[in-house]
């Protein structure tokens, strides 16, 4: 799921930086997920679009296609103000994030070793 080759080339093979940004992501992503959830609950399309956009940018750094697509879908629904569709898309976002977090944790461990 994570595009390791693209990721490491972007970081110029810097394993320390990789560990650092993984840690940074794992620390900041829950807040963005919470923002999206809140935006869905309060039917705030603008907030949804913004939070999903930021999350999309964050996961893009890891070349995480599935999470990227899920965030993009949410962002587009937010832009169009289609909150029912956004709520339906939320499950795949959650699923993608669980997978991504696991994979990143493993990746950071491998490179730390």
């Amino acid at each position: 799921m994570v595009d390791r080759i693209a990721l490491l080339s972007r970081l110029e093979g810097d394993a320390r930086l990789l560990a650092e940004i993984v840690e940074l992501f794992l620390r900041t992503a829950p807040r963005l997920m919470r923002d999206i959830k809140q935006a869905l609950a309060s039917k705030d399309a603008k907030k949804l679009e913004r939070a999903a956009h930021t999350l999309k940018g964050a996961v893009a750094n890891f070349g995480a296609r599935q999470a990227y697509e899920a965030a993009l879908t949410l962002e587009q629904h937010g832009r169009r103000g289609d909150l029912p569709a956004a709520r339906r898309a939320w499950a795949s976002m959650e699923k993608a994030m669980v997978r991504l977090k696991k994979e990143l944790a493993r990746l950071a461990e491998e490179h730390a070793a």
Binding site: I21, G57, A60, N61
Partner: protein
Amino acid sequence: MKILIAEDDPVSRRVLEATLLKWGFDVTLSPDGAQAWDALVSEGAPKLAILDWMMPEIDGLEICRRARQRPGAGPLHIILLTARGRKEDVIAGLQAGADDYITKPFDHEELRARVQVGVRLVELQSMLADRVAELEEALARVRQLRGLLPICSYCKKVRDDRNYWQQVEQYVSMHADVKFSHGICPDCYRRVVEPQLHEAQRASGAVGSPDKKRREGGG
């Protein structure tokens, strides 16, 4: 060279920062548009900026617009970060005043190439600005010599603004960055110097040089 990174996502911001630091840049970071704008209008502001499009407070597009409307602003090269594959975004960004764009997630080599373009343009613009300032300064000095200059038809003295008659070289030296080195032109040599030399030789002949005496004595 100083470079500004304005990006609200901490991961992207850190990756950009680390990359540009490795390439030897002096990096300034802003997590939102308001801080980015403050950095751009501060003393010794960065001349190169990588701005995220969508940011809290002021977005990247609005920063481009403001930057281009600022009177008397120095060179500023703006690279806008945009989402992948949105041509209309790119067009809107360039129209708002961005110089270039890069799509997220950025490609390492593409970022390097685009930043290098920015460095080249900023250096060129700075060089041109310095050159224009130099020329303006020179022009300000030369301008003092323009206008109608009253000159005496006989002795060629020049009358200055305070109704004082000066030698031409004195007047020009005061009003321009010029120094005179004195010499004699061939016409004046024939007209003035040669007769004086003849006169001097004649005078010394009249007093009597040892040479001439010997010649006279021997003859």
